[in-house]
């Protein structure tokens, strides 16, 4: 992945030995997706992402290509980022920003989302770097609440 200016691009190494872009996100742009209330969730995840990125066991891959930094990251951290992106877009009120494969959680209110994360001890999992388990929590909320 590379990271800079609150943007990340996630690449995956395929069998042909080439890295393919599988997802991208700009927190700065994404803030505009949300209403005033739900923007707090975006800030919360952005803060979590930035804080974890500082501490995750990452290795420089290519340094400063087109002003961005490239890193290799652990698989479970990559999976957490993918789950986080999908979770965030599932909360978007405006349909045009939500991919067709993302569940619709837009009816969930701010405190309800935080309560769901709280009950699943999400913040403890992220703090303890249990990214796989943290991903599972997000997926569980998406699958249950979307029905």
């Amino acid at each position: 992945m590379d990271s800079g200016c609150s943007r990340f691009y996630l690449y995956e190494l395929k069998d042909d030995g080439t890295y393919y872009l599988i997802d991208a996100m700009s927190f700065r742009d994404a803030r505009d997706w949300y209403t005033d209330s739900k923007r707090i969730i975006m800030y919360m995840f952005e803060n979590l992402f930035q804080a974890t990125f500082e501490t995750v066991d990452k290795k420089p891959f290519l340094v400063r290509y087109n002003t961005v930094l490239f890193y290799t990251i652990p698989d479970e951290y990559g999976e957490w980022i993918l789950s986080m992106k999908k979770f965030l877009v599932s909360l978007v009120d405006r349909k045009q920003f939500r991919p067709s494969d993302a569940p619709d959680l837009s009816k969930l209110k701010l405190f309800k989302v935080m309560q769901l994360l709280e009950k699943k001890k999400y913040f403890t999992l992220v703090r303890d770097k249990k990214y796989y388990e943290a991903s599972e929590v997000l997926k569980e909320i998406m699958s249950v609440e979307a029905i």
Binding site: I40, A51, Y122
Partner: protein, 158 residues
């Protein structure tokens, strides 16, 4: 002055005030005050915390207003609430526990402003989580909110 209840929460242009009925003078005396701009936005650099704290107090006012059967806003862009009750200031008659909540909330704002210098996001979220702050907010349980904020503030080394 007309008696509207023991305590009033008054709202005017991002300022919240608690006033208590004084039997002797038969008037409302100002007890405490919160100005969102100066005491939240200017005191706390982290926009996540500022947004969150502002949302807490707004949500409480909306909740109290609905409990009192008062429609205080018109929905604008789904989430934005424009307060337009009875011109200005908007007031809601509240109970003693709500006035207590307001005092604890003022301490909580100050606490987070002071704490911000040694900001540790994980520990703060974990404290919110362990104190079940989000559940108290979701349920708008004022007693639980007071206890939650107090327990967060009681921990010396976050």
């Amino acid at each position: 002055m007309k008696y509207l209840g023991s305590y009033l929460l008054l709202y005017n242009a991002d300022s919240y005030r608690i006033a208590k009925w004084d039997k002797k003078s038969k008037a409302y005396i100002l007890e405490s005050e919160l100005d969102v701009e100066s005491e939240i936005w200017e005191a706390i650099d982290n926009s996540l915390l500022s947004n969150f704290l502002e949302r807490i107090i707004k949500s409480l006012v909306e909740h109290l207003a609905s409990e009192n059967g008062i429609t205080i806003g018109t929905l604008n862009d789904e989430e934005e609430v424009v307060f337009t009750y009875n011109r200005f200031p908007m007031y809601v008659s509240i109970q003693k526990k709500h006035a207590q909540f307001f005092d604890v909330f003022l301490d909580f704002v100050k606490f987070l402003g002071d704490y911000e210098d040694d900001f540790d996001l994980f520990e703060l979220f974990k404290r919110f989580q362990d104190a079940e702050l989000f559940t108290a907010l979701q349920e708008m349980n004022v007693e639980a909110l007071i206890q939650s904020m107090k327990s967060i503030m009681a921990v010396e080394n976050l």
